[in-house]
């Protein structure tokens, strides 16, 4: 059982309630309930609304996952749960439920890091991860570059956004263009009919002086403002706003910076594998650009399928499975929900 542990993973760090079940590196079930529709009219995730939805969704989502995998809680070897980072109240629902399951079924519990779980999920599709690897995690909640030496022991942060997350920039620009929420898939679609070279939007933190202190950091706040100014100038001049061109040019600016910095991170660390995760990893232009640029430097790009890029329970189960297989000690029943959990620990030490 050590090599092929049956692990259940619970994810509630943002607006998705996820329960996943894996055996070793094989995905058996990935049940998901999302409160995204309840947040749409607010233009972003409302923490209290998300927390309420998690409490309602957890038991039924767990039941769907168990049914889908054809197992019971008694069969499970360990329960993993996202301990952080994320929305405090949302995390707490998942952590409390995970403790209830672990207590009742008398199973070990692992409180795990959400970002490390985004990396671990790729092994469900593409097998063991060559280490070291560089991981780029881009979503509405995070934009990070990580050096992964050993997924079960520790991950080194290389850089992160200093203001908005990449997915947040997509949401804000989509709103500005009156396209809806969440912005990622909408902008991607709108950009298909546009010219990505038509407007030269700024690339944050890429100037020579910024590369000294922020070589692997991102900034999307200036880009968002630049798009707003551009659109507003058009409107004031009484000219129509070319939505597709704005979408494509904005998307190009984001993807250009993300991929350039990711490839730079690989090269400067002598790494030949780049894993991309998070909701923005589903962006079609990001995948193409990353593969184009990586190929030039002999770097392999691994991107899980879109359903595994966004937040889900399978990623938590996948990381839990790695931890069990590596013989890492479980967490204790007093493990906290830690909204600002750092990456020095991949799981909460027992």
């Amino acid at each position: 059982m050590r090599d092929e542990p049956l692990v259940l993973g619970i994810e509630t760090s943002c607006d998705e309630t996820g329960v996943g079940i894996v055996r070793g590196h094989t995905l058996l079930a990935d049940a998901l309930a999302s409160s995204v529709d309840q947040h749409a009219r607010f233009g972003g995730v409302v923490p209290e609304v998300a927390s309420r939805a998690h409490l309602e969704a957890l038991v039924p989502t767990m039941q769907r996952a168990l049914d889908e995998a054809g197992v019971t809680l008694a069969d499970v070897d360990a329960i993993a749960v996202t301990s952080g980072p994320g929305l405090a109240g949302a995390l707490l629902v998942g952590v409390a439920a995970a403790k209830g399951y672990a207590l009742a079924a008398e199973k070990p519990i692992y409180g795990v890091n959400h970002l490390a779980a985004h990396v671990a999920v790729d092994t469900l599709e593409h097998g063991p991860l060559p280490e070291p690897a560089v991981a780029m995690l881009v979503s509405g909640g995070h934009s990070s570059l990580l050096l992964v030496d050993d997924l079960t022991a520790g991950v080194t942060p290389l850089g992160a956004t200093i203001d908005d997350a990449a997915g947040e920039a997509f949401d804000k620009v989509a709103r500005l263009l009156g396209l809806g929420f969440p912005g990622g898939p909408i902008i991607d679609r709108s950009a298909r009919d546009g010219d990505r070279a038509s407007i030269a939007f700024p690339r944050g933190l890429t100037a020579q002086k910024d590369l000294v202190a922020h070589r692997f950091d991102f900034s999307f706040s200036g880009l968002k403002t630049a798009v707003a100014r551009w659109v507003e100038s058009r409107e004031r001049a009484g000219e129509p706003v070319p939505v597709a061109d704005v979408s494509a040019s904005f998307q190009e600016a984001v993807c250009d910076v993300l991929t350039a910095k990711a490839i730079d991170a690989c090269r400067s660390n002598g790494v030949r594998t780049l894993v991309i995760g998070g909701g923005v990893a589903a962006n079609s232009r990001l995948r193409v650009l990353a593969e184009e640029r990586a190929a030039r430097h002999g770097i392999a790009v691994r991107v899980p399928r879109p359903g595994l890029c966004t937040d889900n329970g399978a990623m938590v189960a996948a990381l839990g499975s790695h931890l069990v297989a590596a013989g890492v000690a479980p967490s204790r029943l007093d493990l906290p929900a830690d909204s600002a959990m750092g990456l020095t620990e991949v799981s909460v030490p027992g």
Binding site: V93, G100, A105, D334
Partner: protein
């Protein structure tokens, strides 16, 4: 029948084991930590501890009773998520009870106001006659509680809360003071009573319990039972005893939120060009 009671509707995290027999119930073990930010960390170890204290295992449980609040949301959900997940894992029923009712029942005979801290200078409250709830639960500023007790029922107080003759003059005065042109719930924004604090709920109830009653004791102006601040596990189980004995269907544990989420829809786009 071995029953686990959980409550996280107040700053206390409570886990208790109670034996329910056909004609009574007896407490076996109880653990409680008072820390408004530690429910998520404290509750599960407390459950493990009460089971260990009794030399029992989770599979020995027959049912779980959980306090549904009202209470500050983040902590409240910890108890309910834990109860629901344990019930699911063990295949045993879960029953919800109002957390204030636990205090009201434990307070015993007489007319009692139960108030817990709702933060933002408000309380969750309900009133009881001989352990049975007659008004509430509601959320309000402490100074507005008396006005609500009068006015919310259109001047007719629930049976049992009828004002005794010797209290009538005070109560009427308090009612007039609290019920202004803005309606019965008008108090000042700073939380002080519109009328004389001493007469706010005195006359309506004999005493008060709950940590909110202790915190705002000077506003309520009635004696506070300082030993009864958090819902006792055995009282919560007693409230569900009939359901437990009758093996009633398991219930979905829905919190008594009483407040809507604070969320504002975004306003029109702000111009970035000056």
């Amino acid at each position: 029948m071995l029953v686990l009671a959980l409550d996280t509707a107040t700053p206390a995290s409570t886990a208790a084991l109670v034996e329910v027999t056909p004609d009574g119930l007896s407490g076996i073990a109880e653990r409680r930590t008072v820390d408004p930010r530690a429910h998520g960390e404290r509750l599960a170890p407390e459950i493990a501890a009460v089971l260990a204290d009794a030399g029992l295992r989770p599979r020995d449980l027959t049912a779980i009773v959980a306090g549904l609040g009202p209470g500050p949301f983040t902590g409240l959900r910890v108890g309910l998520a834990t109860a629901a997940s344990m019930g699911q894992a063990l295949g045993i029923p879960t029953y919800g009870v109002c957390s204030l009712d636990g205090l009201g029942r434990a307070a015993g005979p007489g007319r009692v106001l139960i108030a817990t801290d709702a933060r933002r200078r408000e309380v969750y409250f309900a009133t009881y006659v001989d352990g049975v709830r007659v008004t509430g639960p509601e959320v309000a500023r402490p100074a507005d509680v008396a006005g609500l007790l009068y006015g919310a029922v259109g001047g007719a107080l629930p049976a049992g809360l009828l004002i005794r003759p010797e209290d009538r003059s005070t109560a009427t005065a308090a009612g007039k003071a609290a019920g202004t042109a803005d309606g019965p719930a008008a108090g000042k924004a700073d939380g002080t009573a519109a009328g004389q604090p001493e007469t706010a709920v005195a006359g309506l109830v004999d005493r008060a319990a709950g940590e909110g009653a202790l915190k705002y004791g000077d506003v309520f102006g009635v004696p506070v039972e300082e030993h009864l601040l958090y819902p006792p596990g055995a009282a919560l189980v007693a409230l569900a005893a009939d359901r437990i004995r009758g093996v009633a269907p398991s219930e979905i544990l829905t919190p008594l939120y009483l407040r809507r989420p604070d969320a504002v829809e975004p306003s029109a786009r702000k111009p970035v060009l000056t």
